[in-house]
């Protein structure tokens, strides 16, 4: 049984035609199901819990990274497969999963290649793709054994489960696998200034796999999970291996 969750921004008229096409394609493929439109007034947790009790085994999110991230926290608590039909801006997770935008994603959902992937947990929140830290003046305490700090003031620090958009594929081919049971600390200098354009970023990068980490700082620093939720340091992060069942495409990058 399929449950489709539409993000609230899809109420915009410019998405009406694409949504109609998607719905037709889903019916043709025989994987139609209940449709709910998310809104700030609707409690996602309650909705999903009720539907899972009613027999839903596949939850398909129609929207972008933010929509998916909102649902991941609830879906991780149930034994369901989570799929995505990407629509709208900011769809980097869909790219990592090898899912094309719009109608093409319906075939991926129908093909139903299900992979168990790791999830990150920050304090008590799950995240799928990664965590961005908006300051390099932090100390990362890994596995309660050693600490990592950056000498650069303009370094970009990210905690990754999926490959970040800023990482070059060729230089980081063996990293950022969401099925390896590790998260990665990824540090690279921010490209500012004329001369930095010519520096090879792969020679400057730092990648450290870990299972458990704490982010500490002298003053409180914002930390953003999946580009959506904002938390403040200090925070604790750990990997939860094979926590989520995800419907992926053939062209996924892991």
């Amino acid at each position: 049984m399929y449950l489709y969750l539409y993000d609230s921004f899809l109420n915009d008229k410019r998405f009406a035609q694409t949504l109609a096409k998607i719905e037709t394609r889903l019916t043709d493929l025989g994987i139609g199901g209940k449709i709910y439109r998310l809104s700030p007034l609707r409690n996602v947790e309650e909705l999903i819990s009720d539907e899972v009790k009613a027999g839903v085994t596949n939850i398909i999110v129609v929207g972008n990274d933010k929509t998916l991230s909102q649902v991941v926290n609830v879906a991780a608590k149930h034994e369901v497969a989570l799929g995505l039909i990407p629509l709208g801006p900011e769809n980097q997770i869909a790219q990592a999963l090898g899912i094309p935008e719009g109608e093409g994603a319906c075939d991926i959902v129908a093909a139903r290649i299900v992979k168990r992937v790791d999830l990150g947990r920050i304090n008590n929140l799950y995240f799928l793709s990664g965590v961005k830290i908006f300051s390099s003046e932090v100390t990362l305490e890994c596995e309660e054994l050693y600490s990592i700090s950056s000498k650069l003031k303009n370094a970009l620090i990210t905690i990754c489960n999926f490959r970040p958009a800023t990482a070059q594929l060729a230089a980081t081919a063996n990293y950022f696998n969401p099925q390896d049971g590790f998260l990665e600390v990824f540090i690279q200098p921010e490209k500012t200034g004329f001369f930095n354009i010519f520096k090879r970023p792969d020679r400057q990068k730092t990648i450290i796999p870990f299972k458990k980490l704490a982010i500490k700082s002298k003053s409180s620093v914002p930390v953003v999970t999946d580009g959506q939720r904002v938390l403040k340091t200090p925070v604790k992060i750990e990997v939860i291996p094979k926590k989520l069942k995800l419907i992926v495409g053939k062209n996924r990058n892991f």
Binding site: E143, L145, Y146, S147, I148, S149, S150, K151, L152, A155, N174, Y175, N177, D180, F182, I187, Q188, P189, R203, Q204, K205, T206, I207, I208, P209
Partner: protein, 140 residues
């Protein structure tokens, strides 16, 4: 032996030139260091210390290639290679050692398998015999 560019296809830990690591660092696979490490450094696999790296730690790995500066003892299970830019201030212990001309090395070096010399073996045998002999009673 270690290759200078890309040691294997396995996931490796990379510590970049702008990063400082402090504490008991235990790598999960191959480790490449271009930054600063102080404390302890250990991996069961290969370790490459780049030209820009500064290590203030005792090091232990299977194969080690040093091109930067190390202040501490190095223990390589299989092989250790010091390139011409290497600076090592500490003792080294390994099976196979390669030191390029121009490398700076201050310390003791122990290379090769730990086999006792023939003379030491004879000494050991004699000591054992003496231990086995029963003590004769002393009659006054």
């Amino acid at each position: 032996m270690l290759k200078k560019e890309g040691m294997s296809n396995e996931v490796e830990t990379i510590i970049g030139p702008s990063v400082h690591v402090e504490g008991d660092f235990v790598g999960n696979g191959d480790v490449v260091i271009e930054g600063t490490v102080s404390g302890k450094l250990r991996t069961e696999k290969n370790l490459r210390i780049g030209e820009t790296a500064k290590i203030f730690a005792n090091i232990s790995a299977a194969n080690i290639l040093v091109a930067g500066e190390v202040q501490g003892n190095i223990k390589a299970k299989e092989s250790l290679e010091l390139t011409s830019s290497a600076k090592v201030f500490g003792d080294i212990k390994t099976n196979i050692v390669t030191i390029a001309s121009g490398a700076i090395f201050h310390g003791r070096c122990q290379a090769g398998e730990e086999k006792k010399s023939r003379l030491e073996k004879i000494d050991d045998k004699e000591n054992n015999k003496n231990k086995e002999k029963p003590l004769e009673p002393v009659i006054k």
